[in-house]
């Protein structure tokens, strides 16, 4: 022990350096580095404070005005805010729109993500698909909405919404809004699926090939189950974007009470129009047509609660996925 000690002294048990190494302690840094660190900290704190202020403001305002009855009554016409009912309809509308959008973007996004990460041939086509996804991710939703208007007001797609007696296609329906919202959610699903696949080491794929499995079988039996957490994460991120979007809802759904079109049970809802929480907030905001700030804050509270819950779920599923990994 004593001879060893002379060769390689152990770390000091007590003393100013303590348990952490010197490089990690900012007290020993140069002044400029310490100023930089201080600025980074300050900016980080400011950012957190701004986010916390927005969330807290909305939560407090929302809690002030929200009444349980608002969650179970539909909007009504009235002169005072106590007469105008709640926002059950918009809440149902939000759910419908989210289901349609994610029902389309989920499977399509997983398929595109798997193709890009695992196959990607021909190369040129993969590159085109990649940049399309990137463009879609960066496109303002109101531009997509405008494209949707052109698309769904066209004669061939008239059956997806109402056509009036003059033969003019209305172009606004849950289906129209959901389809274009799927384009908003799609890049998020594709990106998370791709990242999930890229995180799987190659030797896992090879282990499957080495047991005499084809690429298709490997993808289906090994890779898809392995990226399930990524799929869930991407889907939830997509839902978060979908329920929060306003431009597409305003242009392609409007802000009406829920009304079905036709008599077929599911199809009538898809072809019909309604409203969502975002359009409800838009119209009830102090600058909106209806100007009922109390209702707007209450609805914003519900919307925020939905989005925050989704974010927490994404975080939890991501953490659970990281627990079980290959080295």
């Amino acid at each position: 022990m004593s001879t060893l000690g002379t060769i390689a002294p152990g770390p000091p048990v007590n003393g100013r350096r303590g348990s952490s190494s010197m490089a990690m302690r900012s007290a020993s840094w140069r002044v400029t580095d310490r100023i930089g660190l201080g600025i980074a900290w300050l900016l980080g704190l400011i950012f957190c404070a701004i986010c916390a202020a927005i969330v807290l403001f909305l939560l407090i305002e929302g809690l002030r005005f929200i009444r349980p009855s608002m969650l179970v009554t539909n909007p009504r016409a009235g002169f005072t805010q106590s007469q105008t009912g709640g926002f059950l309809g918009p809440m149902i509308g939000t759910v419908i729109v989210a289901l349609i959008a994610i029902g389309m973007a989920g499977p399509l996004g997983v398929a595109i993500g798997v193709w890009l990460a695992e196959f990607g041939r021909p190369r040129a086509m993969a590159r085109i698909a990649e940049s399309t996804i990137e463009m879609l991710a960066g496109a303002p939703t109101v531009v997509l909405a405008l494209f949707g208007v052109l698309l769904f007001e066209s004669e061939p797609l008239g059956f997806l919404s109402v056509t009036n007696s003059n033969g003019v296609v209305f172009g606004k329906s849950f289906f129209a809004a959901g389809t274009i919202l799927a384009l908003v959610a799609l890049p998020l699903v594709v990106t998370t699926v791709r990242e999930g696949l890229q995180a799987i080491p190659d030797h896992v794929r090879e282990a499957s090939y080495a047991l005499g499995k084809t690429r298709i079988a490997t993808t289906r039996r090994i890779l898809l189950p392995a990226i399930r957490p990524s799929v869930i994460t991407g889907t939830m991120l997509g839902v978060g974007r979908v329920v929060g979007d306003t431009a597409i809802i305003l242009l392609l759904l409007g802000d009406t009470p829920l009304q079905g079109v036709g008599s077929a049970p599911l199809l009538s809802t898809l072809r019909g129009t309604g409203s969502t929480l975002t359009s409800y907030i838009y119209n009830n905001a102090p600058t909106g047509e209806l100007n009922q700030p109390n209702k707007a804050y209450a609805a914003a509270f519900v919307l925020l609660a939905i989005v925050l819950t989704l974010n927490v779920l994404v975080d939890v599923s991501g953490r659970r996925a990281r627990e079980r990994r290959w080295s």
């Binding site: 080495a210 392995a226 290959w326």
Partner: protein, 295 residues
């Protein structure tokens, strides 16, 4: 395609004249004796695969040059050599995994039970010549499903769980894992310890009842205790399958191998029994490598 004129296997046994001129005996580094395996029980030896003048190159860079050696059931063949000497490439050639690398080209012949493997369906070949990797890589499913994976989809109709139960238990028992996991076959495989995961990978590779088992440094990510368990397992397995193991660990090679092939810069420098290679190697390079001068 049966090989009508199989090229002669380059004989590099200790008791046969070498193709390479024997270097003059110099005062080389002292060859330290490495402990040998205790019980060298003789097993029935059958030749399963023959590698003949096999070369592989990646995009024009040769990785394996003109290698010939036999692979026999009843014995463990260890491929040793410094990093980048082509031993893993040679191993991956045996079940045609090298073909997954887009720029890989190969020349020569490898036969399995007398049939050229290039004429076989890759998926069929890989069920007969299975492989275990350096990193334990169980699939993200239950222990049972990991082992049953290779048995499913082999038949046109998916067999039921009860029908697979016996085969799965058998494979787990052969890999020496059954007693430890008997009650938890439905637990996720990725929750097992590293050594158990690696034995699960061996069980998975054995489930297909292969003729040859390839192991690519199977213990390099494991602790000494798990390594010992897996080494004992490998020695036991050689009676049922031909075992080829790539290893960086010379002690390991001397403990478990019956024959050793030393590769350097893509060439097979020496092939012989473990005792010959470690104690009386004919090639200067081999002596230097096994005594730790380079590598």
């Amino acid at each position: 395609m049966e090989l009508s004129h199989p090229p002669a296997i380059r004989r590099l046994h200790a008791n046969q004249p070498s193709a390479v001129a024997r270097p003059p005996v110099t005062k080389g580094p002292r060859v330290t004796t490495i402990p040998q395996r205790h019980n060298r029980v003789q097993t029935l030896v059958i030749e399963r695969m023959a590698v003949q003048q096999w070369s592989v190159s990646y995009g024009g860079n040769p990785a394996v040059r003109d290698v010939s050696l036999p692979i026999r059931q009843g014995e463990v063949l260890a491929l040793i050599g410094p990093s980048g000497c082509g031993k893993t490439t040679l191993l991956r050639s045996l079940n045609r995994l090298t073909e997954l690398t887009p720029n890989a080209t190969s020349a020569g012949w490898i036969s399995l039970d007398g049939v050229d493997i290039s004429t076989l369906e890759p998926t069929a070949l890989r069920r007969r010549v299975t492989m275990v990797f350096q990193q334990p890589n169980p699939f993200p499913m239950s222990i049972f499903d990991n082992v049953a994976y290779v048995l499913r989809e082999q038949a046109s109709r998916r067999p039921r769980r009860a029908a697979l139960k016996a085969a799965v238990n058998d494979a787990l028992a052969r890999a020496g894992l059954l007693d430890e996991v008997a009650g938890n076959l439905d637990h996720p495989a990725l929750r097992l310890s590293g050594g158990q995961q690696q034995r699960l990978c061996i069980a998975r590779a054995l489930a297909a009842n292969p003729e040859v088992l390839l192991l690519d440094e199977p213990c390099s990510a494991l602790d000494p205790q798990s390594t010992r368990v897996i080494e004992e397992l490998i020695v036991r397995l050689r009676e049922e399958v031909a075992v080829v193991i790539v290893t960086h660990n010379l002690q390991q090679a001397s403990r478990i191998a019956d024959h050793v092939a030393f590769m350097y810069l893509g060439e097979l420098v020496e092939y012989g029994t473990a005792r010959t290679v470690f104690e009386r190697a004919r090639q200067e390079r081999t002596r230097e490598y096994v005594s730790g001068v380079f590598g």
